[in-house]
């Protein structure tokens, strides 16, 4: 019997090792899998490469991971914000490497990895600093930049509901990077509010089919938190 559910967030991240590349869902704090990140911090591993839209907001989630000194490199589109102080400090101290990627290129490169593509040609960034030194091509009169897929060892994402096969339904704008990160990582781990029986999710509403998901963990109830 296939059962992708794990009982605790600690177990869910138990094989993430030093130096791993980890995609983390979320746009700001919407869709940020805080409980999985806390478990990753508790695990004590470092030297991580993090792929996220931002570089931490406030004190929780990616910000906490950076504050704890676990991040060697971050690939993101929008690091600098009014509440990105933990990233700002580490970046200015030269302790964290930044690869800045336009948001749509970040999404397209992640999706390309999940879809098994070798590269993409994107019009975004052509003629700018962020395309310097990159191969370009004119196709049907429009200029494009060659960009490579972004793969990762793990993806930590937040969805609303899952079943034991790993099918996922999201909630509102917390969906953001979840579906494409699940595709792009070798091991995709989703924290959800609840895990429901097979068949309880209307197949017409499944956003991420379970084939893209390796582990699901419920963090929705007080009970789940206690056993985490």
């Amino acid at each position: 019997m296939i059962d992708k559910s794990v009982t605790s967030v600690r177990d869910a991240v138990a094989d993430i090792a030093d130096g791993a590349s980890v995609m983390i869902g979320g746009f700001g704090t919407a869709g940020m899998p805080d409980e999985l990140i806390d478990a990753l911090i508790d695990r004590g591993v470092g030297g991580l490469t993090i792929i996220n839209n931002n570089a931490g907001n406030g004190e929780a989630g990616v910000a906490a991971l950076i504050k704890a000194g676990r991040v060697r490199k971050i690939i993101c589109s929008f690091p600098r914000q009014h509440d990105s102080h933990h990233f700002d400090a580490r970046f200015r101290a030269g302790e964290i490497e930044l690869e800045l990627v336009p948001q749509g290129n970040l999404a397209a490169r992640i999706q390309a990895a999940g879809a098994g593509l070798g590269a993409i040609f994107t019009p975004t960034g052509y003629g700018t600093l962020l395309a310097e030194g990159k191969e370009t091509r004119c196709i049907d009169g429009r200029d494009y930049v060659l960009e490579y897929p972004i793969h990762a060892d793990f993806a930590l994402i937040k969805a609303y509901c899952a079943d034991r096969w790993g099918n996922l339904v999201y909630r509102k704008t917390a969906r953001n990077f979840g579906p494409i990160m699940a595709m792009a990582a070798r091991t995709a781990i989703a924290q959800v509010k609840q895990i429901v029986p097979l068949g309880a999710i209307d197949p017409e509403t499944v956003v991420t089919p379970g084939v893209f998901v390796q582990r699901v963990v419920a963090v929705g109830s007080a009970n789940a938190r206690a056993t985490a």
Partner: protein, 216 residues
């Protein structure tokens, strides 16, 4: 001469957004355009973090941290609205499915080059977000900005000195002094505030301008 304030600029942009348009309003000043779209004109707002059919801010106490716009502020979804993931969101943009995008800017060139993501100042931490995708993706890209910097330099320029966001992507610039078309033929004045002449604008901007008599 009385320069347009922020609300008047937003109202002027709103005048050019037609019924049925799919529109993305950038973070900051462009967001204000939504307040000036007439209630009887159906315009669909997209926000690149993953919603289309965006409604106004919720009533106090009704905020949902999982229903936000690209500026990370709480919003609502109108009946008929939808959610989607980031790859679909930027496919809408890059794939030319959005009619109009309104952005702020540090500088716009007379040929429509845009600079709005990075000052290039030493020590500045760069952040680009969706700016480069938004600039080149929509069918028409509008810019909303003050014509002059605080120390009187024109932000409508012959050639951008700040790092570029996109090449030849802006078609129209809405400022506190007037509205300009930009593009391959250079810059032209669509309208200007009372008390200004073409010569005045030419002197303020230092770029060649002509009157755009055919502008819609």
């Amino acid at each position: 001469m009385k320069r347009l304030d922020r609300d008047a600029m937003a109202a002027r942009v709103a005048r050019d957004i037609p019924e049925g348009a799919y529109v993305n309003l950038g973070i900051g000043l462009p967001t204000r355009v939504a307040d000036f779209l007439p209630i009887d004109r159906e315009v669909i707002l997209q926000s690149e973090n993953g919603l289309i059919g965006m409604g106004p801010a919720p009533a106090q106490g009704e905020e949902d941290p999982e229903l936000i716009n690209a500026g990370k502020q709480p919003v609502t979804l109108l009946a008929g609205g939808a959610y989607f993931h980031h790859a679909d969101s930027f496919a809408m943009m890059r794939g030319g499915h959005i009619d109009i995008c309104v952005l702020g800017a540090y500088q716009v060139s007379v040929h429509g080059d845009l600079a709005n993501w990075h000052t290039g100042a030493p020590g500045a931490i760069p952040a680009v977000g969706g700016a480069m995708d938004l600039a080149i993706g929509a069918k028409r890209t509008f810019v909303m900005m003050d014509l002059l910097t605080r120390d009187g330099q024109s932000k409508l320029v012959e050639s951008c000195s700040y790092p570029l966001t996109g090449l030849a992507c802006v078609s129209r610039v809405y400022t506190d002094h007037g509205v300009f078309n930009v593009g391959p033929a250079g810059a032209s004045v669509v309208d200007m505030i009372d008390g200004l002449t073409l010569e005045d604008l030419q002197e303020l901007t230092g770029v060649p301008l002509r009157l755009d008599v055919d502008a819609d």
